[in-house]
């Protein structure tokens, strides 16, 4: 059953607590992008995707999701857990020895919800398109979702996949770009600018939508519109503006929090800004 906006906000608040606690606990991981993509992943898993409660690798007759920017694993793990794929207590094992919650998402340890490893950037769109081809062969009408970073678009493989999907009319996919404008070494515009991204994507043959990834109303209206445009002979992409570090004021809008954990004081500050709504792990 779909959640209303207040319920979604409550889930996001809890997920943000999970993220900062996980990263703080091992003093390692990527909080910035995780916080920025929290609302999107919450909306995707709790309202948008037609998915089964249990996990099987093939994902027959359900929507599937791939995360290409695997470094934002904290938000992925938290949302998977809160969506019921595994118990929230396992979040405490993040990045520790013998954990299923590896630094970057992996299938190797059998964590439910993960269908391919990611971390080395630029590979997820190809995998998602391949999965969409399999769904077509299987005559399914389900949808493949995939999330990429904006800095990640500097990888050439992404554009190989963009060309392929448009040329072959792969129209059962909705890709999303986390457009936060930041990458490890600084603003994307200073490192290797994407210039007019919408124009670029349109010229590659994709139907482009734009959304505010930290506003549930924007996410809802954009992605519902996008869904209605599926199976029309073109792939769909959502340029989603987000604020890196969203929800923790001192982390917002800075690439400095890409891969830095908070200290004890900063953790308490971050937690005070996000109330416990579903019980901490």
């Amino acid at each position: 059953m779909s959640k209303n906006i207040d319920e979604l906000k409550n889930i996001s608040s809890q997920v943000r607590r999970d993220i900062v606690r996980m990263v703080h606990q091992v003093q390692s991981g990527h909080p910035g992008g995780s916080l920025g993509c929290t609302d999107f992943l919450v909306y995707l898993f709790f309202n948008l995707m037609k998915r089964k409660d249990s996990f099987d690798m093939n994902g027959f007759n359900e929507d599937v999701f791939f995360i290409s920017n695997g470094h934002i694993s904290p938000v992925f793990y938290s949302v998977l857990s809160r969506a019921g794929y595994f118990d929230k207590s396992e979040l405490s094992t993040f990045r520790k020895l013998n954990s299923r919650l590896q630094g970057h998402p992996a299938t190797h340890e059998g964590l439910p919800g993960i269908r391919v490893a990611s971390g080395s950037l630029g590979q997820g769109l190809s995998v998602a398109v391949g999965s969409a081809l399999a769904k077509k062969l299987n005559k399914e009408d389900n949808v493949v979702y995939v999330l990429m970073g904006d800095g990640e678009l500097q990888e050439g493989q992404i554009w190989e996949a963009m060309m392929y999907a448009a040329h072959n009319k792969v129209d059962n996919i909705i890709a999303t770009i986390d457009f936060n404008g930041q990458q490890i070494d600084g603003p994307v515009d200073e490192i290797n600018s994407l210039l007019d991204l919408k124009d670029k994507l349109e010229s590659f043959g994709w139907k482009v939508y734009e959304s505010d990834g930290n506003d549930f109303e924007s996410l809802s209206s954009t992605l519902e519109k996008a869904r209605k445009n599926l199976f029309n002979g073109f792939p769909i992409i959502n340029i989603m503006k987000t604020v890196m570090g969203k929800g923790v004021d001192f982390m917002e809008n800075s690439h400095k929090w890409h891969g830095i954990p908070p200290n004890d004081e900063q953790l308490n500050d971050a937690l005070s800004q996000n109330k416990e709504t579903l019980g901490d792990y």
């Binding site: 190797h108 391919v116 391949g130 299987n138």
Partner: protein, 319 residues
């Protein structure tokens, strides 16, 4: 086993064995799909493409994307066979294979033609001699290098039932067909071609024929060779190797690959750990290839029967 003198009546390229094997698989297994990066004719995938257009994916010159698409197709129960040259099947896309296929344990069959020196005139940019090494280093990856048309066809068909990532390496030149078309082929199980007592010769790919030719020279010198085909480099059939060297007490290995990272290196490790004996690896001596005709290249790089004979005499002398 009575000594048999291996001969052939026909030459055919091993890549055609792949193409014909894929055609067979297409008829019997509807989950088999094929992807190609603008080399459909070279990889002999046209039959599959024509018979099953809906299951054939022309990817264009974009090998990295092809590996990702293949990984994605497995999610949904498909069994993808990718086709391009060996160089573009491995070195160019190593990280894609490593993360999206091997680490993710996807059921992708990476099928690679034009491997080794014998692709000939195109030269070193295309003559990869490091691919076996790269692929065998990936945990969980099966690595197969069949010896002739028939064996390549059988290996391709066997991969349809094999679960997990695999690398199938074959070549461009027309090459003697000397194995039966109905031979038993089991992934991971070596095949004894000749029984012998004085030396074990382990060979993979095109080099098995070269080894059988060398055996004829050695036989004429009164030397009894045990010739064993190791078509699957990983997992290595340790049993057949150890059993043979315990009898012959010396061995050589032959492959169309750098001596670093190939079959010989795997056998070296096995021998040094479990049963040390005199051993020599025949392969390309840590260099790139060059343009030329296939047989001329094999001769220049000491992958011809005469060089195998010399190496055999050398290790027998060390016993």
């Amino acid at each position: 086993m009575e000594r048999k003198e291996y001969t052939y009546t026909e030459k055919k390229d091993t890549r055609s064995g792949f193409g014909d094997g894929l055609t067979e698989l297409g008829k019997t297994n509807e989950n088999v799909v094929a992807l190609c990066a603008d080399l459909t004719g070279s990889l002999k995938m046209n039959d599959f493409k024509n018979n099953h257009p809906e299951r054939f994916f022309q990817v264009g010159i974009a090998e990295a994307n092809m590996m990702g698409l293949a990984a994605g197709l497995t999610i949904g129960g498909k069994i993808p066979f990718t086709g391009t040259f060996a160089n573009f099947s491995t070195g160019r896309v190593y990280d894609q294979i490593r993360q999206s296929i091997a680490y993710s344990h996807k059921n992708v069959k990476i099928c690679a033609s034009h491997a080794g020196l014998t692709l000939g005139e195109d030269g070193a940019t295309h003559q990869i001699l490091e691919d076996i090494g790269m692929m065998k280093m990936l945990p969980g990856m099966t690595v197969i290098n069949p010896c002739d048309y028939n064996q390549t066809k059988l290996a391709t068909i066997a991969l349809g039932d094999h679960i997990g990532p695999a690398y199938l390496r074959f070549g461009r030149p027309k090459w003697p067909i000397f194995t039966p078309e109905n031979a038993k082929f089991q992934i991971g199980k070596g095949i004894k071609f000749l029984d012998g007592n004085d030396i074990s010769i382990f060979a993979t790919g095109h080099m098995l024929w070269q080894a059988l030719e060398a055996e004829k020279i050695l036989f004429s010198l009164g030397i009894s060779c045990e010739v064993i085909n190791i078509h699957t480099i990983k997992p290595l059939d340790e049993e057949i190797i150890l059993e043979s060297i315990k009898k012959t007490k010396c061995a050589i290995s032959c492959e169309e690959h750098n001596i670093i990272g190939g079959l010989g290196e795997s056998i070296s490790r096995l021998i040094s750990e479990k049963h040390p004996i005199p051993f020599k690896v025949i392969g390309v001596n840590d260099s790139f290839g060059e343009s030329g005709k296939p047989l001329d290249l094999l001769e220049k790089y000491n992958l011809n029967p005469e060089s195998i004979k010399e190496a055999a005499l050398e290790v027998i002398d060390k016993k």
